[in-house]
């Protein structure tokens, strides 16, 4: 129902240690964001792309499609950065509107390109993680990082409930559409309102039933569950360390220049 979720359970990287994957993701993200360099972005884009597509087995075109998810945001914000309205024309281009200019500078274009690449590289990094690691494994990593128990338990439940509610909402929407509930904009809005309120009522009812079911399995206020362990591998840790050291080196060299 959620494409990324479906794909990550089929990833060939799924049974690798989630902690490793998380460390790789966060460290690489850190270098992307801190260095903000085109070179680092390029390295990261290629590396995570290879990992996700080749090692993880995510289909190439679907991966490309996912990289375009933040496209609208990217285009609009880039326009905002590059375009300027000013009385003096800048060096890249300038369109005169009366006594003003709609203009952009080379520096701002360079800045925007750098930003786009950094953002795309970061997204590819995030995708490496979400295309290879089921949320339940991620929650376990957070637990090991001493995230408060209440948050962990909420995340565990919310992740499951999301799918219960999505199933209900899509079933109700289908039923509404079967009765012409999408015939025009106003009817669609009404249908959406009905659906959402019915969904909330169902959600509240379900939460009570689930609580009863948990209680009947001796729930005492603490959710304890076992986790399947996929122990970290020394060689992989070494690779990650090497890669991050490499990124560090590149960052330092670029700074010194």
């Amino acid at each position: 129902m959620i494409a990324i979720d479906q794909l990550c359970y089929r990833s060939k990287l799924r049974y690798h240690n989630a902690g490793e994957k998380f460390a790789f993701t966060t460290l690489t993200l850190l270098f992307c964001v801190v260095s903000r360099s085109v070179v680092i972005a390029g390295i990261v884009l290629v590396t995570t792309g290879i990992l996700t597509i080749y090692k993880g087995g995510i289909p190439f075109f679907r991966y490309l499609k996912f990289l375009t998810v933040p496209l609208v945001f990217l285009i609009l914000s880039t326009v905002a950065i590059v375009l300027n309205v000013s009385k003096t024309p800048s060096d890249l281009f300038a369109l005169s509107i009366g006594s003003w200019y709609l203009t952009g500078s080379k520096a701002s274009l360079l800045y925007a390109v750098q930003l786009i690449l950094t953002a795309l590289a970061s997204v590819s990094c995030l995708y490496f993680f979400s295309f290879s690691t089921p949320i339940t494994d991620f929650i376990h990593v957070l637990q090991k990082l001493h995230c408060p128990r209440l948050i962990i338990e909420l995340m565990l439940l919310i992740y499951r409930f999301i799918f219960i509610l999505m199933e209900i909402s899509s079933a109700i929407t289908t039923a509404q559409n079967s009765r012409l509930g999408n015939k025009d904009f106003i009817t669609s809005c009404k249908s959406f309102g009905f659906m959402a309120s019915a969904l909330l009522i169902r959600a509240i009812k379900k939460s009570n039933l689930l609580y009863d079911a948990m209680e009947s399995r001796c729930y005492d206020g603490t959710i304890r569950v076992l986790h399947e362990n996929f122990p970290p591998k020394r060689r992989e840790i070494l690779y990650i360390l090497l890669f991050e050291t490499f990124l560090l080196a590149v960052t330092v060299i670029l700074r010194l220049r």
Partner: protein, 281 residues
């Protein structure tokens, strides 16, 4: 000439990337006014086919003819189609979304663009017909499962479709409400509505249906009259179904020479009992 109301020609459909629940070259023909049962494992494509019938899903290839015309997937075409083909979903909780029974039932018919007064009349009529009056003023979420089912059927009946599809109408109902629903279904047929129903209840399908389709892996494995389909031992085994008890015992009794095999196969328990009653040893 046969009056074909629904015809599927080599339908293919698959959900994003899953292989289950998909259609793999489904072809079938249904005559107007018939009672048709669809059987087969969950995930064999019954519900997917139903959702194709009213245009919620669009087959990736193949054509579906309703009333002799291929489905028109334009906005207007779909609205017309959905007026003709109504689906009563399996779980009423996934169909009912209004707080009040009245509002719920009127939703579909008002979307047809009918005047409020006329809609009101129709709603009142269906409330009376389906015996919803005793609980019509209760909020929908306080209804019992069986009552919700009645309302979800009323939802569709009020729109006067030519074809009604019932997805496992008796699932999770208690005997009393199963009877009630079966009764309502019988009345639909009497009104000339073509009824398509998916069910896992072999004995019910055997006695109710004019025609049965056994689905497997998104296509029709076996079809025909109940007696034909349930005589096909291979198909039954492949779909994990068993022969209806009445039919099985009738054949056993025939084998032993107790009943006369030249009579038509009894359609239900009453008929078989009648046969036994008439035995003169």
């Amino acid at each position: 000439m046969k009056d074909i109301i629904l015809k599927a020609q080599e339908l293919y459909f698959s959900y994003d990337d899953e292989n289950t629940h998909s259609l793999n070259g489904l072809s079938l023909e249904i005559q107007r006014g018939k009672k048709v049962a669809f059987m087969g494992a969950n995930g064999s494509g019954k519900s997917t086919f139903f959702l194709c019938c009213n245009g919620i899903h669009r087959p990736s290839s193949g054509t579906l003819f309703v009333d002799g015309k291929p489905i028109d997937y334009s906005k207007k075409g779909l609205l017309d189609l959905r007026q003709k083909v109504g689906i009563v979903f399996q779980d009423p909780d996934n169909q009912l979304f209004s707080a009040s029974v009245y509002q719920e039932i009127s939703f579909g018919i008002l979307n047809l663009g009918i005047s409020e007064e006329e809609a009101q009349k129709e709603v009142e009529k269906v409330i009376a017909d389906l015996e919803i009056t005793p609980f019509r003023h209760k909020p929908t979420h306080a209804l019992s499962g069986g009552q919700k089912k009645q309302v979800s059927i009323a939802d569709i009946l009020v729109m006067h479709p030519q074809i009604i599809i019932l997805d496992e109408p008796a699932a999770a109902l208690d005997p009393k409400h199963t009877q009630k629903v079966n009764h309502i279904v019988d009345e639909m047929t009497q009104q000339g509505i073509t009824v398509l129903m998916s069910t896992h209840d072999v004995d019910y399908a055997y006695q109710w249906a004019d025609q049965i389709f056994l689905f497997k892996d998104g296509r029709v494995l076996s079809q025909g009259t109940p007696t034909e389909v349930f005589a096909d031992q291979n198909a039954l085994e492949e779909t994990n179904l068993h022969q209806p008890t009445v039919m099985k015992l009738y054949f056993r009794l025939c084998e032993k020479g107790i009943l006369d095999p030249s009579f038509p196969v009894p359609k239900n328990l009453q008929e078989l009992e009648q046969y036994i009653e008439n035995i003169h040893l």
